[in-house]
């Protein structure tokens, strides 16, 4: 006979699992037990998702050879900033003068240097080219399997994918008037932050080819910024900036601060550097701006 408290706990676990699978955050104002149940479910779902990735990749490999073709790549030192040649064009800087901006695969790596008097606060940053040319992510709604299913929900993994961050302000500025593409199109950091599906510090677990110019980016989260909490691991469908073969995609194992835009075809902004606080400050500033962007 199941004891009442076990039954209650089972019910709590089931409800929490349902929320996680639906991509919902923990219930606002929930008690500690409910929050704990949600956290457990999120972790379990993330681990199951990760295990399925390992199993699938292992089994997909040809019997006489290793490694199914995926977009995963070996870890690379964090201080290596590969810069696609096609983006090495001058442009306007997005951040304050203290910040260096580089562009890297999968998205935009914003290398945040410590501001002020340390001219070489980071070797990486000091030596990184500063194209300031953010690629022009094309904003479009997420796609379904069929052409007539456009507008389906975003494809964040249910591995605890948080709902669209309600905490994100609706209308940041046109920060630096499109730090992005030289052609003036695209999405600024402020726009991306305003509508971000997630802002977090984490490590790249895997990058898998999704569809077209999209990839599935799985991150192990060490610190959620927006929303304030979430699963330990999450998968986002995002635009693949390596689709043109320019190289420089993020590498498995790299730790970054990620800003994941709302659009599943837009690039991810990533910050690196010795001081994530500086990046956080830029994010916070962007969040306070008002661009009037509609999320």
């Amino acid at each position: 006979v199941t004891e009442p408290n076990n039954e209650a706990r089972a019910a709590l676990d089931a409800a929490a699992l349902a929320r996680v699978l639906d991509g919902l955050d923990a219930e606002a104002g929930a008690d500690a037990a409910t929050r704990d149940a949600y956290a457990r479910a999120a972790v379990d779902v993330a681990e199951i998702s990760r295990a399925l990735g390992m199993i699938g990749d292992a089994l997909a490999a040809p019997a006489d050879g290793p490694a199914a073709p995926t977009a995963e790549e070996d870890p690379a030192p964090d201080n290596v900033v590969a810069l696609p040649l096609w983006r090495r064009r001058p442009g306007r800087t997005m951040l304050a003068a203290a910040a260096s901006i580089a562009v890297i695969g999968l998205g935009v790596t914003v290398v945040v240097a410590n501001s002020g008097d340390d001219g070489h606060s980071s070797d990486t940053m000091a030596t990184a080219p500063v194209p300031a040319a953010v690629p022009p992510p094309q904003m479009r709604e997420s796609q379904g399997l069929y052409a007539n299913s456009a507008g389906t929900a975003a494809t964040d993994s249910a591995a605890g994918a948080p709902a669209a961050p309600a905490a994100a302000p609706m209308a940041p500025a046109k920060a630096a008037a499109k730090t992005a593409g030289d052609d003036g199109t695209g999405e600024s950091l402020a726009d991306a932050v305003a509508c971000a599906r997630g802002v977090l510090i984490g490590t790249v677990v895997s990058i898998r080819a999704a569809s077209g110019d999209q990839v599935s980016l799985t991150l192990r989260v060490t610190d959620w910024i927006t929303p304030g909490s979430g699963p330990a691991q999450i998968t986002y469908t995002v635009g693949d900036d390596d689709a043109d073969g320019s190289g420089g995609r993020l590498k498995k194992g790299q730790q970054r601060l990620f800003v994941v835009p709302r659009s599943t075809s837009a690039s991810v902004y990533t910050f690196t550097g010795p001081d994530y606080d500086a990046a956080r400050a830029k994010i916070a500033k962007a969040q306070q701006q008002d661009s009037g962007v509609q999320c």
Binding site: D44, D57, L59, G144, T152, T155, A158, A209
Partner: protein, 175 residues
């Protein structure tokens, strides 16, 4: 072969994009298709894609890879119905790891084998949605659309499958 000029996949000689082959193989394998039959499974998926493209009365395929993995999941279910279920899942995974680089950590091995054991016990329709949701990363809505079942059905299968696998996680240390 392909009559529908509007189909997104018409321009390719191989209807299955190269980038999708690995994902199709993985979904087939996760569905229990034995390794020696994976190539046949991939061919079946290719045929389905060609048929879909040739049928102008069917919906246009916007995302051939996503569509292909759904087809692969169906092929896997059919394999089960033909009672050709793969019995050596754990052994195959272990064997695959011997050539994998980098080799997974001991903790990851335990985790993956535990989940593999749990997968082996699941009904094939539960395995199907599990692979489509968590390996192929398809949203519930798209899975429901592709399988022609209500979203609630996909959710309930997913919930049941994950709940069963969670039981397996109890008692093991995972990072």
């Amino acid at each position: 072969v392909v009559a529908d000029g509007e189909a997104a996949i018409h321009s390719s000689a191989d209807p299955l994009p190269t980038a999708g082959v690995g994902r199709v193989r993985a979904v087939l394998a996760l569905g229990g298709v034995p390794s020696h039959e994976l190539d046949d499974g991939v061919q079946q998926v290719r045929l389905k894609l060609l048929e879909q493209a040739a049928n102008r009365h069917k919906e246009e395929i916007r995302d051939p890879v996503a569509w292909a993995v759904v087809v692969a999941s169906r092929v896997a279910v059919d394999w089960h119905r033909g009672q050709r279920r793969d019995e050596g899942l754990r052994e195959r995974i272990t064997a695959a790891w011997t050539t994998a680089a980098p080799a997974p950590s001991p903790e990851d091995r335990v985790l993956a084998l535990t989940i593999a054991d749990g997968m082996a016990e699941l009904p094939e329709l539960h395995r199907q949605v599990l692979a489509l949701r968590f390996y192929a990363d398809l949203p519930v809505r798209d899975i429901a659309l592709a399988l022609d079942v209500p979203e609630g059905t996909v959710k309930s299968r997913l919930h049941a499958a994950v709940a069963a696998l969670r039981q397996r996680l109890t008692g093991i240390e995972v990072s």
